[in-house]
């Protein structure tokens, strides 16, 4: 399965029409749909949210020539995001959705890390992966201990629920969150597609936690969301710094449309729900329409050939499957890595090479660590830790 993005013109912008009824379909099933259908919905919501975010940033900084085409494409992206995001069902609670967000971060980042052609960038993805992996464990403990439910009903056995790089040590100074960016004149197209994809996913995760954190009543839950949202903000800082600032805004827009085509194309390749697959196919065509519109702007305003920056055919799709072995190997080999400036170091070198991060972390954790408290002594057990009678009431229970 391959897609020639120069030959395939997709759906023209003026044919990309919606109604409110069309936007709001019967959602997917929390119980019966495959976890990866949910993973794809969440990622594509993030990709579309990033398209809007990027477009608004450009509209505020570019000259007037681009304001109308940006607004025209943005109107469609807004409705694409709506149709995708509204596929999440109302019985998926905010905490369950959180578990699914972390599964996205683990499984999509694992696929990206394994296919990234640039070894330094692959290292960056593996570094972030182990942090999101830990978040899944902390939120699973919260779901078990406060909500009385099993997070595996959401991840469906595909992703491990165990500690990664402990969240308590993930807090870093800004100086240690920036990374080296790729060189846009030399980077493989896949490198650029990866950077935008993962930045989009992390940005949406951050925004989601910032929205739902205050909806929880439990003070520990509120603190945990505050803490992990802070890490997600660091991740956005890390991943967006991978993109070359020398790329022109129009080049970035062109690349973003290619990212959207690539991601819908990847979703199509793996989707098991026919109702959802039909949406991925429709939106892949819509994105091809956007891409060709921006190719035209790129040629007219920058006098450059889009083939300079876009791949002739799309790379292999993102792999929507369990990456358990890769994640475990990464955990085994790299859990003790820390960041110093743009580089990765061993934990024992952190006091000398990243003193600002240590000082910041000590300050933030000085009144306690919600991520440590929520998972104190926690080991995931099928059906929750209550199966093992781990409760304040264990002594009194006779069974």
């Amino acid at each position: 399965m391959s897609l020639d993005i120069f030959k395939e013109k997709g759906t023209p912008l003026d044919k990309q029409l919606f109604t409110w009824r069309d936007l709001v379909r019967t959602p997917t099933s929390k119980l019966d749909d495959d976890a990866f259908t949910r993973v794809r919905i969440i990622l594509m919501n993030g990709i579309e949210a990033n398209a809007l975010r990027t477009s608004h940033g450009m509209a505020r900084m570019l000259n007037g020539d681009f304001r109308l085409p940006l607004a025209q494409v943005r109107r469609v992206e807004q409705h694409q995001q709506t149709m995708v995001n509204w596929l999440l069902p109302p019985d998926l609670s905010p905490l369950e959705t959180t578990i699914a967000f972390e599964q996205v971060a683990i499984e999509v980042t694992a696929s990206v890390a394994q296919h990234e052609p640039d070894e330094y960038l692959a290292q960056v993805y593996r570094f972030g992966l182990l942090e999101d992996f830990d978040h899944l464990y902390r939120f699973s403990a919260l779901m078990d201990r406060v909500g009385g439910a099993d997070a595996n009903s959401i991840v469906q056995n595909y992703s491990d629920i165990m500690p990664g790089r402990p969240t308590v040590v993930e807090h870093r100074a800004p100086e240690d969150n920036l990374r080296e960016h790729y060189d846009c004149t030399k980077a493989h197209p896949l490198t650029k597609l990866h950077a935008v994809t993962i930045t989009a996913g992390e940005n949406q995760t951050h925004d989601y936690y910032m929205t739902i954190g205050p909806m929880f009543a439990d003070p520990l839950a509120r603190q945990l969301y505050a803490e992990i949202a802070s890490i997600e903000e660091q991740h956005v800082t890390q991943y967006e710094s991978l993109m070359d600032p020398k790329e022109t805004p129009l080049e970035k827009w062109l690349m973003h449309e290619a990212v959207e085509v690539y991601n819908y194309f990847s979703c199509m390749a793996y989707e098991t729900n026919p109702r959802v697959k039909q949406i991925w196919e429709r939106f892949c065509d819509y994105e091809l329409g956007h891409l060709h519109m921006v190719m035209d702007l790129f040629q007219r305003f920058e006098n450059r050939d889009p083939a300079e920056v876009l791949p002739a055919t799309l790379p292999d799709p993102i792999e929507y499957e369990s990456h358990r072995q890769f994640v475990r190997e990464t955990l085994n080999n790299e859990v003790d890595l820390r960041a110093a400036g743009t580089q990765f170091i061993n934990v024992e070198d952190e006091p000398d090479r990243a003193p600002l991060s240590i000082a910041y972390r000590e300050q933030m954790n000085s009144e306690g660590s919600p991520s440590e408290t929520v998972a104190a002594g926690y080991q995931w057990t099928p059906g929750t830790e209550l199966v093992e009678k781990k409760s304040a009431f264990a002594k009194g229970a006779k069974a």
Binding site: T26, L31, F216
Partner: protein, 240 residues
């Protein structure tokens, strides 16, 4: 700037009488505007009907285990219903254990109040919730089900109970407010066990029916206790 009457009192501001002067303007404004469309609240039903008629379900049970005894399709259907409702009760008792942990935490922090439950009385109920969860876990396994499944009934019960957990884990909620929320849980729980007993009886599961009857006796006591504590605390506050 027009002042609000409640500013000096610093009390609840949600009612219209917080500021009679502003309220008058508000009512005047609303009355002066006509709706942009004709019709009424019944129009909402058309939107709901459209989606209901599509016939999608929240979810289903996993493929049934085929047991030697349950060859007839009616037995299979009965088993599927029983496992759905067992899964629902299991999820409810599991959450109930966590609810009473939160209540225990609150009572430990605020101190035992008179009238009101003692720590020992809360521990007693919590222990029985945990026992019921463990019992259901065992029974589902014994009859060939998977206790880690979120059955459709369990899913619905989870959605319906989210508010109860929110009340219990809110550090600002009072003991009577927590008991009020627990009343909702205990009333539902009692009815749930009664239904399970009927189901087990109808399907010929006499051994587990007996265990459910014991659980119902516990739950009736929980309900009565919660009802009494709540009533005593509310009446005491009203100085009655």
């Amino acid at each position: 700037m027009k002042s609000t009457g409640a500013q000096a009192a610093m009390g609840n501001r949600t009612g219209i009488q917080t500021s009679p002067e502003l309220a008058e303007e508000l009512i005047e404004g609303a009355n002066s505007a006509a709706p942009s469309s004709e019709g009424g609240v019944e129009d909402i039903a058309e939107y709901r009907t459209d989606y209901i008629a599509q016939g999608f379900a929240l979810g289903s049970m996993p493929a049934m285990p085929i047991s030697e005894e349950a060859e007839a399709s009616e037995d299979q259907a009965g088993m599927a219903v029983l496992l759905d409702k067992l899964g629902e009760r299991l999820a409810f008792e599991r959450m109930g254990t966590r609810l009473y942990e939160a209540l225990l935490n609150k009572c430990q922090t605020l101190g035992e109040q008179t009238p009101g439950p003692t720590l020992q009385e809360i521990e007693h109920i919590g222990s029985e919730e945990l026992e019921h969860f463990l019992m259901l876990n065992r029974i589902i396994t014994d009859i060939g089900g998977d206790p880690t499944v979120v059955s459709p009934g369990a899913d619905v019960a989870g959605v319906a109970s989210l508010g109860i957990m929110q009340v219990l884990t809110d550090p600002r909620s009072s003991m009577p407010q927590c008991l009020q929320a627990l009343m909702t849980a205990e009333l539902t729980d009692n009815a749930g066990w009664e239904l399970l007993i009927e189901l087990a009886d109808g399907l010929g599961y006499n051994d587990i029916k007996t265990e459910f009857e014991t659980a119902l006796v516990h739950e009736e006591e929980h309900l009565q206790n919660v009802r009494d504590w709540l009533s005593d605390m509310v009446l005491d506050k009203a100085q009655l």
